[in-house]
Amino acid sequence: MGLNRNVSLNTGLQYKGREPMLTFVLHRIGGLGIVVFVGTHILSSFIGGQLGHAGNVVYESWIFQIIIFFCATFHAINGLRITILDLWPPLIEHQREAIWIEFAVFIPLYLIAVYVIIHTALGG
């Protein structure tokens, strides 16, 4: 007798793990976004024809590009932070500062990219 140990996605996301937990979740979302992007790209090329063209339209759209740039850039920068901390464990004591640096790099980079994407889309 007893309750099952299963932890649902919703319950897990409600755990208050603060900044590192947020980066962990965003890293997974980023990875998933990259898979969707690459998958759409490959499928569109593979299928071809009208359906393939429809796929091209989706992943070439500026909204999709804004999302995929978030996924790829965050995934890369966060991966770099984790790699650096993994290779130099003494730095792990400064993990909170490392996350602030990560966001200090990511946010301006992303905002500039979003500006360029929207500017290009609207300007033709």
Binding site: M1, Y15, P20, M21, F24, I82, D86, I92, Q95
Partner: protein
């Protein structure tokens, strides 16, 4: 101050599904969450079940999810949580009753890393102690503080995914012996930790470090184990 205490309740003999019950109590802000649970059990509802023993942050019995994150009920004050408090059992372990979870998978994982001193060499000439320098002792001092409360392991998303993942507490114990200059089973332990359910599944989420009531730098200890695996050096 008036405190609203929302507690996870599940009685396997009566309930088909878990639910929350809310209690309103008067408590000074210096009261611990454990004091509130004792008040509910002693004066409101004697059927409330939870673990507690020393009540001073040493035995690690009363690790619970308090306001969404793992903490010891005996070390968390009302002034730290505010007037609205939610108390739930640890995640990733089967709930036996109310706030009591089945700790067997946790201790099974703990046993896997050989949590005891191994040295088959003959004793020193005087037959007394295996000496080590202050620096050698300091190398693993941090990880000797673990009280096996399971707050770290049950805050880890990898453990939520699979109870066979050894988890931070087992890694902390492994670290304590791997970096002990007197112990001779470091390579055996590193081999165990290099298996599928070992340190490779640590995704450096830091939940364990932030949940540890003894403030052990758990992720750093895991990082040192990972590095020892790669380099083969224990310095």
């Amino acid at each position: 101050m008036q405190v609203t205490l929302k507690i996870f309740r599940f009685n396997p003999e009566v309930d088909k599904k878990w639910h929350y019950e809310t209690y309103t109590l008067d408590a000074p802000e210096t009261d611990r969450i454990l004091d509130l649970l004792e008040k509910v059990k002693g004066h409101v509802d004697g059927t409330l079940s939870f673990r507690r023993s020393c009540a001073h942050g040493v035995c690690g019995s009363d690790a619970l999810r308090i306001n969404g994150r793992n903490q010891l009920a005996c070390k968390t004050l009302v002034r730290d949580t505010g007037a609205k408090i939610t108390v739930e059992p640890l995640l990733g372990l089967k709930v036996i009753k109310d706030l009591i979870v089945d700790m067997k998978p946790f201790f099974d994982n703990y046993k896997t890393v050989l949590p005891y001193f191994i040295n088959d060499s003959p004793l020193p000439a005087d037959g007394k102690e295996r000496l080590q320098t202050i620096e050698q002792r300091a190398r693993f001092d941090e990880t000797t503080k673990c009280v096996l409360c399971a707050a770290c392991t049950t805050s880890c998303p990898s453990f939520w995914g699979s109870e066979t993942y050894l988890g931070p507490a087992a890694f902390v114990t492994a670290h304590r012996f791997i970096f002990d200059s007197r112990d001779e089973a470091a390579s055996e332990r590193l081999h165990i930790l290099s298996e599928t359910n070992g340190v490779a599944r640590c995704h450096t989420v830091y939940n364990c470090t932030m949940a540890c009531p003894r403030e052990i730098q758990i992720t750093k200890a895991i990082g040192e184990i990972k590095l020892a695996m790669i380099t083969g050096k224990l310095d």
